[in-house]
Symmetry: C2
Subunit: 162 residues, 2 copies
Amino acid sequence: MNLKSQVEWALHCCAILCALPADKYLSTKALAEFHGVPKEYLSKALQALSQAGLVHTTLGPTGGYRLARKPADITFLEIVEAVEGKERTFICNNIRANNPCRPKDFCDVKPCAVARVMWQADKAWRDTLSAATLADLLDTLQVDVPADQLASTAQWVLKRAG
Amino acid sequence: MNLKSQVEWALHCCAILCALPADKYLSTKALAEFHGVPKEYLSKALQALSQAGLVHTTLGPTGGYRLARKPADITFLEIVEAVEGKERTFICNNIRANNPCRPKDFCDVKPCAVARVMWQADKAWRDTLSAATLADLLDTLQVDVPADQLASTAQWVLKRAG
DNA sequence: GGCCCAGTACTCGGATACATGCTGTCCGAGTGACTCGGG
DNA sequence: CCCGAGTCACTCGGACAGCATGTATCCGAGTACTGGGCC
């Protein structure tokens, strides 16, 4: 049970898109070159972000992606769910129904007790992810990454933006 | 990114093993029939539990599995990790290293900021799972499941125990 | 009758096929900006 | 100089291999019960 690598790519791409002027777009090609990942496959992740309404896209030359909202209004959870789907990680097949001691017509009022615990953990995971926004990530990067590297990266983005 | 169905099976099997007298064992065959799952494949999950030291096993006609510890001393996390592995769900490939604006010999002191957030969520998930024990599950079942069904199930287990 | 021993039936455990889904690639359709020729 | 058709670059979406992992199955190794033979 691993998250797909597309999740990592999507998160990093969103971080880069934060450095983009409001009226500009950055293409899949630029994002793929920046991160050193296959362009065609990365586009799948970006399409998912687009369908989820997290990024805005335009066709043609100068086309590409930009964030649809402010970094403070986009959470990690939204990005992860856009790529991985919103389904819970634990799927309950209700195998308790196979219990031979159980009446055939027995009707459960509550979900399986095992599933409830697993879903509670799933919720804790999602709550943590929804508490972190892209703006928080940017703040962290301000501390972690040397200023000159941040500046040159921003310039690289600006140069490739259309 | 879904948990394997073996996780569900392992959890339910542990719940059933709780109803077992301390000196008895329950075979894979019995557990498989009880839950309506393939015997051979279920044995894989039980092997994982055995290797993790959560259950004790014996060979021979009266052989099978039983819990290695008291239900209050076995957490959901231990069972889940026994089957799914202890690795984090988010694996960081450090794609920030591919940033063209980054000095080639740059050495990171901290893990990637994106990964840190993802790992924090992963920790929240695991913390929730490690807070729930099999004893808690039994308490929940006492409330959810009719007493007669619990009793007949316990009797079924006793009958199949060797 | 009691004890020992070989056989048997049953169990776990590892090794082996099949299916599903992630990873990666390719190509065609559609769209917007740019270029260039004509008025 | 202005306008319009054509060209180009880019996105989007689907279709297609390759591979890893989950799913399912089979067979061998080992152990406890069982029945018979022997003392």
